[in-house]
């Protein structure tokens, strides 16, 4: 029972972060038909934002809020400067552009900030453990779950209840027709990027509070995980991204809890092996609604 609870917390806290990232990826993919490889770097930007705000003397919560805003802004700027000039081109062009952008960001962080990790002091309320009877549960994990679930609920409310949210989903379903009904292309694309930046930022806060540092390629590992999540779940489909994120969390936590210590090192390799097997049977992911997305 204790072990099961700890396992569940691991699944949800890992899965939650992957789901946040995967949702950000799929939001942009659903609209523009390309995977933004610089998505993980929005996490890094949020991390550095947090680092500098803390260094400037802000408290953790205001610093984190500002860092989130920075990630959203960075995502919007990314679209404005790098992707908009290429709008309507082959998605492959956009994909490669996002690769280049990601590399350029890594190098810039190395040159202008530091190639070494910058420590981020994690505040009291995020470190340590809750104890329930005999069992210990890390606070950071619990916060990760709370933040992910809350964000997912809010996102769901936004896309279903608000006019802009509905317009965003309509544009993802059929961009041209949505425009014909007055949905402004630039506006929904900016909103989609802002959302993806916000989601990446939230993932970054959760990620950092469990690790306590930010470095130039910090976004790389979680980005690869998010990619795996959207591939499992099916691209261009928010429900798939969500499902994929939690499936990946389940898989990783499963290996973490069942593998003998000597093999835990290989769990990423095992996850990828499972992914390959999975893709042999479900090449379009779990929920294949739209194998050929809109441009």
């Amino acid at each position: 029972m204790d072990l099961f609870l700890q396992f569940l917390v691991s699944v949800l806290s890992l899965g939650g972060v992957y789901a946040l990232l995967a949702l950000g990826l799929s939001t942009v993919f659903g609209l523009l038909g390309f995977l933004n490889f610089a998505h993980g770097d929005l996490m890094t930007i949020c991390g550095y934002g947090l680092y500098f705000m803390l260094a400037a003397g802000f408290g953790f919560v205001p610093a984190a809020t500002l860092a989130l805003a920075l990630a959203a802004l960075a995502a919007v700027l990314m679209e404005r400067l790098a992707f908009r000039p290429l709008r309507g081109r082959n998605p492959m062009t956009l994909l490669i552009t996002s690769f280049a952008l990601s590399l350029a960001l890594h190098v810039s962080f190395q040159i202008f900030i530091s190639p070494k990790p910058k420590p981020i002091p994690v505040p009291e309320f995020l470190s340590g453990y809750f104890t329930i009877g005999e069992i210990f549960i890390s606070r950071a994990q619990v916060i990760a779950i709370v933040v992910s679930v809350l964000s997912l609920v809010l996102l769901n409310l936004f896309v279903n209840r608000t006019r802009l949210g509905v317009a965003l989903r309509a544009a993802a379903a059929d961009f041209d027709v949505a425009r014909a009904f007055g949905v402004k292309a630039n506006q929904v694309i900016a909103i989609a990027f802002a959302l993806s930046g916000l989601l990446a930022g939230l993932a970054a806060l959760v990620w950092i509070s469990q690790r306590g540092a930010v470095f130039p390629t910090m976004g790389l590992t979680p980005m690869v995980k998010a990619l795996i999540a959207v591939i499992i779940g099916g691209l261009s489909n928010p429900r798939g991204a969500l499902l994929g994120g939690f499936m990946l969390g389940l898989l990783e936590a499963g290996f973490l809890f069942t593998l003998p210590d000597s093999l835990v090192l290989y769990r990423d390799a095992l996850v990828l092996l499972v992914l390959i097997l999975f893709l042999m049977f479900r090449p379009n992911g779990l929920i294949a609604t739209n194998p050929e997305p809109m441009r």
Binding site: R163, A170, V177, A180, V183, A185
Partner: protein, 238 residues
């Protein structure tokens, strides 16, 4: 003298080397139902899409109530009173019927949207029963009704319909044409592209016949319907 709602002059639409529309002239006047008929690939959809701004016009002019649409962004059209039901219906499949209608009312003040949805439900009771259902799960006929209802959300002055009867069962086709005739009677200017020549000539005021990117005939709908050459090319086998 009738007032023109839409005027198209020497419109040319090209896809790379292909000229899909080669110098078309067309007018739709206030309260008028105009139909464009012609075989598959004649260039009808390209003409409409150019009016909507979804494909660029290589040359020519498109004016709506005297104002040029050529450099007007697509998304401005609904606030000018132009509504569109595209070929193949293209409802937003994953969205509920209600959300499809909400998007139709995207250019209305937010406070008017729910009221308009109620009016649409009154006009299309089948949609009312399915407001929460994903549009993609509706039957073809229901999707077509939704596509038209979505377009009517703004109470348009000018309605563009691209093959609304395509792929529908005969009973549903009759309903669709009845609805179009009703909207015409209510005074909406309508441009109707159809391959169902007999039915569209029966409800239209005027008609254009399109072949290989050009209008080869135009005239009063009843005259064209009675014309033996039209009879042979378009009505014969049907």
């Amino acid at each position: 003298m009738k007032k023109a709602v839409l005027e198209v002059e020497n419109l040319v639409v090209q896809y790379g080397q292909i000229s899909a529309v080669q110098g078309v002239n067309l007018t739709v006047n206030e309260n008028e139902l105009v139909t464009v008929i012609g075989a598959n690939g004649a260039g009808k959809t390209s003409t409409l899409n150019a009016m909507m701004g979804l494909v660029p016009a290589a040359s020519g002019e498109i004016r709506y109530k005297g104002e040029s649409l050529l450099h007007m962004p697509v998304e401005k059209r609904p606030s000018m009173g132009i509504a569109f039901s595209p070929e193949g219906r293209r409802v937003f499949g994953p969205l509920s019927v209600r959300d499809n209608l909400r998007v139709g009312g995207n250019s209305l003040p937010a406070s008017q949207v729910d009221g308009r949805i109620d009016e649409m439900v009154e006009r299309f009771p089948i949609l009312g029963e399915r407001l929460q259902q994903a549009a993609g799960t509706l039957s073809g006929g229901e999707q077509q009704m939704l596509a038209i209802a979505r377009a009517l959300m703004i109470s348009p002055d000018f309605l563009i319909l691209d093959e609304p009867s395509l792929g529908l069962a005969p009973i549903v086709v009759a309903q669709v044409f009845e609805l179009i005739a009703e909207l015409h009677a209510e005074g909406v200017a309508i441009l109707l592209v159809e391959q169902n020549v007999r039915k569209s000539l029966a409800i239209a005021d005027r008609a254009y016949v399109m072949e290989l990117g050009r209008f080869v005939r135009e005239g009063a709908a009843d005259e064209l319907a009675a014309d033996p050459s039209i009879e042979n090319s378009y009505l014969g086998a049907a």
